[in-house]
């Protein structure tokens, strides 16, 4: 049976292969949530943020707002398609997708 999947990323794309790997295998209708150092994927003008922008529009992108702000990323610079969420939202997201894969 086909099911929906939320990819949970926590490593910075600059230091680790998890980011590239998950982008390679992510399917349409799936979601991508950046937490901890994975929010560095949102640094402007990086290949990571460009790669995320190129994902099909059916893939929803999320980032944990506290992790974004804690690392000094400017909210104004973030791509519009990235939704900033808090922990209660993250719980709700996990219930909306059939399963969660942590890379």
């Amino acid at each position: 049976m086909r099911s929906t999947l939320l990819h949970l990323l926590r490593h910075a794309p600059q230091d680790d292969t998890h980011f590239a790997t998950s982008l390679r295998v992510i399917g349409p209708e799936q979601g991508l949530l950046l937490i901890e150092d994975a929010v560095y994927a949102l640094l402007p003008r990086t290949s990571a943020v460009n790669a995320m922008q190129l994902l099909p529009a059916s893939i929803r992108l999320f980032a944990l707002e506290s992790d974004v702000l804690a690392r000094g990323l400017a909210i104004d610079d973030l791509p519009q398609r990235v939704s900033l969420i808090d922990y209660p939202d993250m719980v709700e997201l996990c219930t909306r997708y059939d399963k969660v894969l942590s890379w």
């Binding site: 150092d37 922990y87 993250m90 996990c94």
Partner: protein, 129 residues
Amino acid sequence: MKFAIALLAGPQDPAARSALMFAEAVLAGGHQISRLFFYRDAVHLASTLGVQPQDECDLARRWKAFINDNGLDAVVCIAAALRRGILDAAEADRWERPVANTGEPWVLSGLGQWVDALQTADRAVTFGT
């Protein structure tokens, strides 16, 4: 919904806090936590011996309080714990070590407990991979 939450990274990793914040939000959202499973360096959270500077967040203490306050099932992988010197009274006795540094509410047990949690929960979320 029933959530199973696994944590694989230790107290010094941001994942130890992320997992706790998530677990608190799960309960606050009206869901249940069927099991917490602590694996790899996360077993250090079960140690009673860590001393944190007063102005820093003491995650081991906060996890313990969270587990106690909510009567949660908190399983620490026994193989990972023994490797890292996290022993309850029974294991300290069994391996003839001079001190036990963990105990209730933490329970030392095997990987099968994670498999069981994956099977019985509606959602399984892993932190600290």
